[in-house]
Symmetry: C3
Subunit: 210 residues, 3 copies
C-alpha cells in the first residue's frame, strides 16, 4: 500500500514534468501524451527490454497507464497554474527517482545479474525516461550535463550492495537505499553541489567561443 | 493475397518517404537505405521488442527486406521524377498506416494485452517508424506537432474494440477499423482539420519570439 | 586468447572515441561514461534485443564493463595527451569494427537468420554504437553521411557468405571476412575513397545555400 502510493506520486511527477517540457516545444496533444508516457515509462521499458522481461512491465499495469494519461491531461489543462506546484513536483520527482532506482536494482537481482549491472539498471530505470524525453525533444539529455540526478542513483545502489553484507532484510535495505538517493539529491540541490567539473576554465571558454 | 498486396504498397510508400527525407539531409547511399528501412520497419520493430516477439517480424520476412531495398534504390534513381508520384504516395502511405495499425492491434491481442495497450501498439506500429526516422535525421518528430496521423490510428483502434461487442468476425472488424483510419486521415487532410490547439495566441507568439 | 585480446583492443578504441566526443560536448563525468558505454555496447545491444538474446551479452561480461569504465576514465584524465594516440586508436577502431561485424554475423547465424539479415546484424553491431552515440549527442549520425565504415562491414559480410560455398572452416572464414573489413576501410581512408555521391553539384549548392 505505502509503496504503491509512493509509486503513483513518482509516476505523476515524471508524467507532468514530461508534459511541461513537451508543451514548451509547442507539441500538440498527442505529442504531449507521448512525451509524458516516455518520461514515466521509458527507463523501465529500456531496462525490461535489455533484461528480457517482456511484455514490458507497464503493459500489464493499467493503473500506471491511466495515471500517466490523467497526469498529462491535468498538465495540459492547468499548465498556467502548475508553476505553484513546482516545489511539490520536485519532491515527488525525487521520491520517484528513489523508487525507480530500487525497482531497477530489484529487477536486475531477480534476473541474476552482477551488482554493478544491477546498479546500472537502477540508474537506467530512474534516469533514462528523461534521456529518451530529451532525445524526442531534440535536446542533448540534461542528465549528461548536470547530473546530481544520476550520481544520487548510483550512490543509492552502492549503499544497497554494501549494506547487503550486514543486513538480510531486503525491504529495509531498499528503504535505506531509496533514502540515500533522496538525501543526496536534496542536499545537492539545496547546497548547489554538482560533480567536480572535468574541464578547466580555458576549455570551457574555447567551447563557448566556438 | 489482397492483404499482402496492400502490405507491399504500404511498405513501398513508407520506404520511399524515408528515402526522400534522407536525401534532403544529403545522406549518402547507406544513410538513405537505413532511413528507408527504419521508416518502414521501425514501428513494428519497437512493438515486437516491447511485446517480446523475437527475432522481430521483418527478420523472417525477406520479401519485406527486398521491397525496402528496392524502393530505396528506386527513390535514389528517380528522385527528380518522384514529385509526380507524390499524390499516389500519399494514398499508399495512408493505406499503409491503416494496415500497420490493424497489424499492431492484432499483435497486441495475440499477446493477450489490454485493449488500451493494443490501440497503443497499433498506433506505435503505424507512427513510430516516422518518429525514429525524424530522430535519426535530428528533427523533432513531425507526428508530435501536426498529428492527424496518430489521431486517425487511435480512432481506428477504438472503432475496432467498440465494434467487437457487436461483431465476431475479426476480418470484417479489421477492414472497418482500417477504413476508419483511412477516412479520418483523408478528411483531415482534405479539409485541413487538425487537433484543436492547446495553446492560445499569446503563448504561440511568446515562443516564436524566443 | 588471440580473439579476446583483439576484442579488448576494439572495445577500448570504441569507448575512448565515445568519451572524446562526449567531452567535446562538455558533458560531465556521468555523461562521458554513458556515451563511452553506448559507443562500445550500443550496436551489440540493439542486435541482441532485436534477435531476442536477453539479458543482452554485455550484462554477463564483467570484463567488458570494467574495460569500458577504465577506458572512459583514462580518456578523461589523459584527454590532452590522447591526440598522440589518435593513429593507434584509429587502428584499434578498425580492428574493432572488423571483429564486431564478425560477431554480429555469428549471432545472426546462431539464430538461424537469412544471410542478408546476418550481414545487416554484423553491420549494425559494428556501426550502431556510433549511431546511438551521435543521437545522444544531438548530431545526425556521421555514418549516414560519410560511410566507408558501413560499406566495409557490408563487403566483409558478403565475402563471408560467398566463401561459405567453398570453405567449411568457420574460423578461417571469420578471419578472412574480418580482414576484408580492415583492408577496405584502410584503403578507403588512405586513398580518401568514399561512395560515389548520389547528388550532383547543383543539388549540393542548393542545400548549402538554404
Amino acid at each position: 500500500m505505502f509503496f504503491q502510493f509512493i509509486d503513483i506520486l513518482g509516476t505523476i511527477a515524471f508524467a507532468i514534468s514530461g508534459a511541461l517540457i513537451a508543451m514548451k516545444k509547442q507539441m500538440d496533444l498527442f505529442g504531449v501524451l507521448i512525451i509524458a508516457f516516455v518520461t514515466a515509462a521509458g527507463g523501465g521499458t529500456l531496462r525490461d527490454v535489455m533484461i528480457g522481461v517482456e511484455p514490458v512491465s507497464w503493459m500489464r499495469n493499467m493503473t500506471f497507464v491511466y495515471i500517466v494519461i490523467g497526469s498529462a491531461t491535468f498538465a495540459v489543462i492547468f499548465r498556467k497554474q502548475i508553476s505553484y506546484l513546482l516545489k511539490s513536483l520536485f519532491l515527488f520527482d525525487t521520491i520517484g527517482i528513489a523508487l525507480y532506482t530500487v525497482v531497477g536494482i530489484e529487477t536486475g537481482l531477480v534476473a541474476g545479474l552482477h551488482p554493478v549491472v544491477c546498479i546500472a539498471m537502477g540508474t537506467m530505470t530512474a534516469c533514462f525516461g528523461g534521456v529518451l524525453r530529451d532525445i524526442l525533444c531534440n535536446e542533448i539529455p540534461v542528465v549528461f550535463r548536470k547530473e546530481i540526478y544520476a550520481t544520487a542513483c548510483i550512490l543509492g545502489g552502492f549503499t544497497y550492495f554494501i549494506l547487503l553484507h550486514f543486513f538480510s532484510d531486503k525491504n529495509i535495505l531498499f528503504i535505506i537505499a531509496g533514502l540515500v538517493v533522496i538525501v543526496v539529491r536534496l542536499v545537492a540541490v539545496i547546497f548547489k553541489i554538482s560533480l567536480p567539473s572535468i574541464y578547466n576554465k580555458e576549455e570551457l571558454q574555447e567551447d563557448s567561443e566556438e
